[in-house]
Protein backbone atom coordinates (compact mmCIF):
# COMPACT_ATOMS: atom_id res chain seq x y z
CA UNK A 1 0.00 0.00 0.00
CA UNK A 2 2.90 2.31 0.78
CA UNK A 3 4.04 2.00 -2.82
CA UNK A 4 0.82 3.66 -3.91
CA UNK A 5 1.14 6.53 -1.45
CA UNK A 6 4.83 7.34 -1.00
CA UNK A 7 4.27 11.08 -1.34
CA UNK A 8 1.50 11.17 1.27
CA UNK A 9 3.47 8.92 3.58
CA UNK A 10 6.45 11.26 3.37
CA UNK A 11 4.13 14.24 3.87
CA UNK A 12 2.65 12.67 7.01
CA UNK A 13 6.18 12.16 8.42
CA UNK A 14 7.00 15.82 7.73
CA UNK A 15 3.70 16.81 9.33
CA UNK A 16 4.56 14.73 12.41
CA UNK A 17 7.91 16.49 12.75
CA UNK A 18 6.33 19.94 12.29
CA UNK A 19 3.57 19.18 14.81
CA UNK A 20 6.16 17.93 17.30
CA UNK A 21 8.32 21.04 16.92
CA UNK A 22 5.28 23.33 17.10
CA UNK A 23 4.13 21.68 20.33
CA UNK A 24 7.57 21.85 21.96
CA UNK A 25 8.15 25.49 21.01
CA UNK A 26 4.75 27.07 21.48
CA UNK A 27 2.30 25.05 23.58
CA UNK A 28 4.21 25.13 26.92
CA UNK A 29 4.73 28.91 26.86
CA UNK A 30 1.07 29.43 25.97
CA UNK A 31 -0.02 27.28 28.94
CA UNK A 32 2.44 29.13 31.15
CA UNK A 33 1.07 32.52 30.10
CA UNK A 34 -2.46 31.31 30.67
CA UNK A 35 -1.57 30.17 34.20
CA UNK A 36 0.11 33.52 34.96
CA UNK A 37 -2.94 35.41 33.67
CA UNK A 38 -5.22 33.29 35.85
CA UNK A 39 -3.05 33.85 38.92
CA UNK A 40 -2.90 37.60 38.36
CA UNK A 41 -6.45 37.93 37.04
CA UNK A 42 -7.39 41.30 38.50
CA UNK A 43 -3.90 42.66 39.13
CA UNK A 44 -2.52 45.34 36.82
CA UNK A 45 0.72 44.87 34.89
CA UNK A 46 3.75 46.56 36.48
CA UNK A 47 2.57 46.09 40.03
CA UNK A 48 3.90 43.93 42.83
CA UNK A 49 1.59 41.29 44.30
CA UNK A 50 2.18 38.97 47.23
CA UNK A 51 0.49 35.74 46.18
CA UNK A 52 -1.70 33.67 48.46
CA UNK A 53 -0.24 30.24 49.34
CA UNK A 54 -2.65 28.25 47.16
CA UNK A 55 -1.71 30.31 44.11
CA UNK A 56 2.05 30.26 44.61
CA UNK A 57 2.04 26.53 45.34
CA UNK A 58 0.25 25.99 42.05
CA UNK A 59 2.61 28.24 40.11
CA UNK A 60 5.85 27.16 41.72
CA UNK A 61 6.24 23.41 42.28
CA UNK A 62 9.04 23.89 44.81
CA UNK A 63 7.16 25.96 47.38
CA UNK A 64 5.07 25.11 50.41
CA UNK A 65 2.27 27.09 52.04
CA UNK A 66 4.76 28.52 54.53
CA UNK A 67 6.82 30.26 51.80
CA UNK A 68 6.18 33.80 50.64
CA UNK A 69 6.13 34.59 46.94
CA UNK A 70 5.74 38.03 45.40
CA UNK A 71 5.36 38.51 41.68
CA UNK A 72 5.37 41.38 39.21
CA UNK A 73 4.33 40.89 35.61
CA UNK A 74 6.16 43.70 33.85
CA UNK A 75 6.05 45.28 30.45
CA UNK A 76 8.92 47.54 29.42
CA UNK A 77 7.33 48.57 26.11
CA UNK A 78 6.36 51.98 27.42
CA UNK A 79 9.50 52.51 29.48
CA UNK A 80 11.82 50.98 32.02
CA UNK A 81 10.44 49.24 35.09
CA UNK A 82 12.03 49.49 38.50
CA UNK A 83 11.60 46.70 41.03
CA UNK A 84 12.36 47.95 44.51
CA UNK A 85 12.58 44.94 46.77
CA UNK A 86 12.51 44.82 50.52
CA UNK A 87 13.21 41.32 51.76
CA UNK A 88 13.24 39.85 55.27
CA UNK A 89 16.41 38.54 56.88
CA UNK A 90 17.01 34.98 55.69
CA UNK A 91 17.14 32.90 52.54
CA UNK A 92 15.45 34.64 49.62
CA UNK A 93 15.74 34.59 45.87
CA UNK A 94 14.94 37.17 43.22
CA UNK A 95 14.46 35.87 39.68
CA UNK A 96 13.41 37.33 36.36
CA UNK A 97 11.68 35.06 33.85
CA UNK A 98 10.65 35.75 30.28
CA UNK A 99 7.04 35.02 29.43
CA UNK A 100 8.38 32.00 27.55
CA UNK A 101 9.38 30.63 30.95
CA UNK A 102 13.12 31.05 30.59
CA UNK A 103 14.90 32.31 33.68
CA UNK A 104 17.08 35.18 32.55
CA UNK A 105 18.37 36.53 35.84
CA UNK A 106 18.57 35.37 39.45
CA UNK A 107 20.19 36.52 42.64
CA UNK A 108 19.87 35.38 46.25
CA UNK A 109 20.50 36.97 49.64
CA UNK A 110 24.10 35.75 49.82
CA UNK A 111 24.97 37.10 46.41
CA UNK A 112 23.17 40.41 46.94
CA UNK A 113 24.55 40.94 50.45
CA UNK A 114 21.65 43.28 51.22
CA UNK A 115 17.94 42.82 51.89
CA UNK A 116 16.86 46.03 50.20
CA UNK A 117 17.76 46.54 46.58
CA UNK A 118 16.52 47.98 43.37
CA UNK A 119 16.58 46.49 39.88
CA UNK A 120 15.94 48.47 36.73
CA UNK A 121 14.44 46.31 33.98
CA UNK A 122 14.79 47.56 30.44
CA UNK A 123 14.34 46.17 26.97
CA UNK A 124 17.58 45.81 25.09
CA UNK A 125 17.79 47.94 22.01
CA UNK A 126 19.50 47.66 18.67
CA UNK A 127 19.56 45.07 15.94
CA UNK A 128 22.34 43.05 17.55
CA UNK A 129 20.50 43.00 20.85
CA UNK A 130 17.31 41.91 19.17
CA UNK A 131 19.16 39.16 17.36
CA UNK A 132 20.86 38.03 20.55
CA UNK A 133 17.45 38.07 22.19
CA UNK A 134 16.64 34.89 20.32
CA UNK A 135 18.96 33.14 22.74
CA UNK A 136 17.01 34.67 25.61
CA UNK A 137 20.10 35.30 27.70
CA UNK A 138 20.23 38.38 29.79
CA UNK A 139 22.06 40.90 27.63
CA UNK A 140 23.49 43.25 30.15
CA UNK A 141 23.68 43.53 33.89
CA UNK A 142 25.22 46.71 35.21
CA UNK A 143 24.97 48.75 38.34
CA UNK A 144 23.56 52.22 38.58
CA UNK A 145 23.37 54.47 41.61
CA UNK A 146 20.33 52.68 43.01
CA UNK A 147 20.99 49.04 42.25
CA UNK A 148 21.23 46.72 39.27
CA UNK A 149 20.17 47.42 35.74
CA UNK A 150 19.13 44.48 33.59
CA UNK A 151 18.64 44.78 29.84
CA UNK A 152 16.35 41.98 28.77
CA UNK A 153 15.77 40.38 25.38
CA UNK A 154 11.97 40.50 25.79
CA UNK A 155 9.80 43.48 26.67
CA UNK A 156 7.57 41.45 28.97
CA UNK A 157 8.39 39.10 31.77
CA UNK A 158 7.99 38.17 35.39
CA UNK A 159 9.97 39.32 38.40
CA UNK A 160 9.58 36.86 41.25
CA UNK A 161 10.60 37.30 44.87
CA UNK A 162 10.67 34.12 46.93
CA UNK A 163 11.32 33.82 50.64
CA UNK A 164 11.58 30.69 52.78
CA UNK A 165 10.10 31.64 56.14
CA UNK A 166 12.42 29.97 58.67
CA UNK A 167 10.00 30.22 61.60
CA UNK A 168 6.20 30.69 61.63
CA UNK A 169 6.65 33.37 64.29
CA UNK A 170 8.55 35.50 61.77
CA UNK A 171 5.89 35.22 59.08
CA UNK A 172 3.93 38.37 59.90
CA UNK A 173 7.09 40.50 59.95
CA UNK A 174 8.26 38.91 56.70
CA UNK A 175 4.94 39.74 55.01
CA UNK A 176 5.17 43.28 56.29
CA UNK A 177 8.69 43.62 54.83
CA UNK A 178 7.86 42.09 51.46
CA UNK A 179 4.72 44.19 51.07
CA UNK A 180 6.96 47.23 50.95
CA UNK A 181 8.40 45.96 47.65
CA UNK A 182 7.41 47.90 44.56
CA UNK A 183 7.29 47.36 40.84
CA UNK A 184 6.51 50.41 38.74
CA UNK A 185 7.44 52.43 35.69
CA UNK A 186 10.69 54.28 36.18
CA UNK A 187 11.93 57.57 34.85
CA UNK A 188 15.48 56.28 34.99
Amino acid sequence: MMNRYPFWFFTSVVLAVLAHVYYVLFVPSRSFNHAIDLALADKPVNSFVLLDPATHMKLMPFTTASHLVGICKFDTTAGNIRVGAKMPEGFWNFAVYSLRGKQVYAINDKQADTNAFSVLLSKSEGVIGQALGLGEDVLDVSTDDLGWRIALPDAQGLAILWFAVPDPLLRAKAIEDMQQSRCAKSDG
Binding site: L15, F91, G101
Partner: protein, 180 residues
Protein backbone atom coordinates in the same frame (compact mmCIF):
# COMPACT_ATOMS: atom_id res chain seq x y z
CA UNK B 1 -13.06 7.84 -2.13
CA UNK B 2 -10.98 5.09 -0.60
CA UNK B 3 -7.79 6.85 -1.72
CA UNK B 4 -8.96 10.10 -0.15
CA UNK B 5 -9.77 8.28 3.08
CA UNK B 6 -6.36 6.59 3.29
CA UNK B 7 -4.52 9.83 2.48
CA UNK B 8 -6.46 11.71 5.15
CA UNK B 9 -5.78 8.97 7.65
CA UNK B 10 -2.05 9.11 6.95
CA UNK B 11 -1.94 12.89 7.43
CA UNK B 12 -4.04 12.75 10.57
CA UNK B 13 -1.84 9.99 11.97
CA UNK B 14 1.28 12.07 11.29
CA UNK B 15 -0.22 15.10 12.98
CA UNK B 16 -1.40 13.10 15.99
CA UNK B 17 1.88 11.27 16.36
CA UNK B 18 3.83 14.54 16.30
CA UNK B 19 1.66 16.19 18.96
CA UNK B 20 1.30 13.15 21.21
CA UNK B 21 5.00 12.26 21.10
CA UNK B 22 5.93 15.81 22.17
CA UNK B 23 3.37 15.71 24.96
CA UNK B 24 4.54 12.26 26.12
CA UNK B 25 8.21 13.23 26.13
CA UNK B 26 7.50 16.34 28.20
CA UNK B 27 5.11 14.71 30.60
CA UNK B 28 7.20 11.64 31.32
CA UNK B 29 10.60 13.26 31.01
CA UNK B 30 11.53 10.13 29.10
CA UNK B 31 14.90 11.54 28.12
CA UNK B 32 16.16 11.67 31.72
CA UNK B 33 18.02 8.61 32.99
CA UNK B 34 18.18 7.66 36.69
CA UNK B 35 21.34 8.89 38.37
CA UNK B 36 23.89 6.23 39.32
CA UNK B 37 23.01 3.91 42.15
CA UNK B 38 19.30 4.59 42.53
CA UNK B 39 15.95 5.61 41.17
CA UNK B 40 16.42 9.37 41.51
CA UNK B 41 16.50 11.33 38.27
CA UNK B 42 17.92 14.82 38.10
CA UNK B 43 16.09 17.36 35.96
CA UNK B 44 18.05 20.33 34.62
CA UNK B 45 15.55 22.57 32.88
CA UNK B 46 17.78 25.64 32.68
CA UNK B 47 20.41 24.27 30.31
CA UNK B 48 20.92 25.38 26.74
CA UNK B 49 20.59 22.02 25.08
CA UNK B 50 17.61 20.52 23.28
CA UNK B 51 16.70 18.29 26.23
CA UNK B 52 16.35 21.38 28.45
CA UNK B 53 13.60 22.56 26.11
CA UNK B 54 11.56 19.44 26.88
CA UNK B 55 12.36 19.59 30.58
CA UNK B 56 11.35 23.23 30.96
CA UNK B 57 8.31 22.40 28.82
CA UNK B 58 7.41 19.80 31.45
CA UNK B 59 6.80 22.62 33.95
CA UNK B 60 5.51 25.28 31.57
CA UNK B 61 2.92 22.98 30.02
CA UNK B 62 1.41 22.52 33.47
CA UNK B 63 1.45 26.26 34.05
CA UNK B 64 4.37 26.09 36.48
CA UNK B 65 7.45 28.25 36.85
CA UNK B 66 10.59 26.15 36.15
CA UNK B 67 12.87 25.64 39.18
CA UNK B 68 15.13 28.49 40.24
CA UNK B 69 18.64 28.70 38.84
CA UNK B 70 21.12 27.24 41.28
CA UNK B 71 18.60 24.73 42.58
CA UNK B 72 18.87 21.01 41.94
CA UNK B 73 15.66 19.20 41.11
CA UNK B 74 15.37 15.43 41.67
CA UNK B 75 12.37 13.22 41.03
CA UNK B 76 11.56 9.52 41.33
CA UNK B 77 8.57 7.35 40.54
CA UNK B 78 9.91 4.10 42.03
CA UNK B 79 11.09 3.02 45.47
CA UNK B 80 14.54 1.56 46.08
CA UNK B 81 13.34 -1.93 45.14
CA UNK B 82 11.91 -0.72 41.85
CA UNK B 83 8.25 -0.77 42.94
CA UNK B 84 5.95 1.94 41.65
CA UNK B 85 5.03 4.51 44.32
CA UNK B 86 1.36 3.82 45.03
CA UNK B 87 -1.09 5.77 47.15
CA UNK B 88 -2.33 2.67 48.96
CA UNK B 89 1.15 1.87 50.31
CA UNK B 90 3.06 3.34 53.24
CA UNK B 91 6.49 4.54 52.20
CA UNK B 92 9.44 5.77 54.27
CA UNK B 93 11.71 8.47 52.93
CA UNK B 94 14.81 8.46 55.09
CA UNK B 95 18.40 9.55 55.27
CA UNK B 96 20.62 12.60 55.50
CA UNK B 97 19.84 15.58 53.35
CA UNK B 98 22.71 16.82 51.17
CA UNK B 99 24.53 19.95 52.25
CA UNK B 100 22.25 22.73 51.13
CA UNK B 101 20.74 25.96 52.41
CA UNK B 102 17.16 24.81 51.89
CA UNK B 103 15.38 21.69 50.70
CA UNK B 104 11.87 20.75 49.75
CA UNK B 105 10.19 17.33 49.40
CA UNK B 106 6.79 16.66 47.84
CA UNK B 107 4.56 13.73 46.96
CA UNK B 108 2.89 14.64 43.72
CA UNK B 109 0.16 13.06 41.61
CA UNK B 110 -1.76 14.50 38.69
CA UNK B 111 -3.77 17.14 40.55
CA UNK B 112 -2.45 16.89 44.09
CA UNK B 113 0.76 17.80 45.85
CA UNK B 114 1.69 17.73 49.51
CA UNK B 115 5.01 19.15 50.54
CA UNK B 116 7.39 19.62 53.41
CA UNK B 117 10.50 21.77 53.60
CA UNK B 118 13.59 22.30 55.72
CA UNK B 119 11.80 24.79 57.96
CA UNK B 120 8.93 22.43 58.74
CA UNK B 121 10.55 19.01 59.02
CA UNK B 122 11.81 17.58 62.31
CA UNK B 123 15.38 16.28 62.22
CA UNK B 124 16.53 13.31 64.26
CA UNK B 125 19.47 13.58 66.65
CA UNK B 126 21.59 11.61 64.17
CA UNK B 127 21.03 14.33 61.56
CA UNK B 128 18.77 12.05 59.51
CA UNK B 129 15.26 12.85 58.38
CA UNK B 130 12.45 10.31 58.25
CA UNK B 131 9.34 11.28 56.34
CA UNK B 132 6.39 8.90 56.25
CA UNK B 133 4.27 8.99 53.11
CA UNK B 134 0.93 7.56 54.04
CA UNK B 135 -2.79 8.15 53.67
CA UNK B 136 -3.23 7.68 57.41
CA UNK B 137 -1.85 10.11 59.99
CA UNK B 138 1.67 9.27 61.14
CA UNK B 139 3.56 10.96 64.00
CA UNK B 140 6.56 13.05 62.92
CA UNK B 141 7.20 14.17 59.38
CA UNK B 142 4.29 13.13 57.20
CA UNK B 143 3.29 13.56 53.57
CA UNK B 144 -0.08 12.53 52.16
CA UNK B 145 0.03 10.71 48.80
CA UNK B 146 -3.01 10.48 46.51
CA UNK B 147 -5.66 8.06 47.79
CA UNK B 148 -5.37 5.85 44.74
CA UNK B 149 -3.03 5.60 41.80
CA UNK B 150 0.64 6.35 41.51
CA UNK B 151 2.67 9.40 42.42
CA UNK B 152 6.17 10.83 42.24
CA UNK B 153 8.49 12.11 44.96
CA UNK B 154 10.28 15.35 44.25
CA UNK B 155 13.32 16.62 46.13
CA UNK B 156 14.55 20.14 45.47
CA UNK B 157 17.84 21.42 46.89
CA UNK B 158 18.09 25.19 46.90
CA UNK B 159 21.52 26.79 46.83
CA UNK B 160 23.10 23.37 47.22
CA UNK B 161 26.74 23.33 48.23
CA UNK B 162 27.29 20.34 45.94
CA UNK B 163 26.08 22.39 42.99
CA UNK B 164 29.42 24.15 42.87
CA UNK B 165 31.45 21.10 41.93
CA UNK B 166 28.67 19.39 40.00
CA UNK B 167 28.86 16.14 41.96
CA UNK B 168 25.85 13.92 42.54
CA UNK B 169 24.90 14.19 46.19
CA UNK B 170 23.96 11.19 48.28
CA UNK B 171 20.16 11.30 48.42
CA UNK B 172 17.75 9.79 50.96
CA UNK B 173 16.39 6.29 50.49
CA UNK B 174 12.76 5.47 49.71
CA UNK B 175 11.39 2.18 51.04
CA UNK B 176 7.95 0.63 50.76
CA UNK B 177 6.84 -0.52 54.24
CA UNK B 178 3.48 -2.12 53.49
CA UNK B 179 0.41 -1.84 51.29
CA UNK B 180 -3.23 -2.00 52.30
Amino acid sequence: MRRFFITSLMLLSGLSFGLLSARYMMENMSMVAPIAGGQWMEIKPDGDDLIALYLSGHFLRRGEVPPLKGSRFFVRKLDDDGNTLRGDCVVAFEGKMPETRWWFVSAEAKNTRTALDAGEAVREASGNYTISISNNPVPGNWLVPPTTGTYAITLVLLDAVTEANGTTPSLPKVKRLWCS
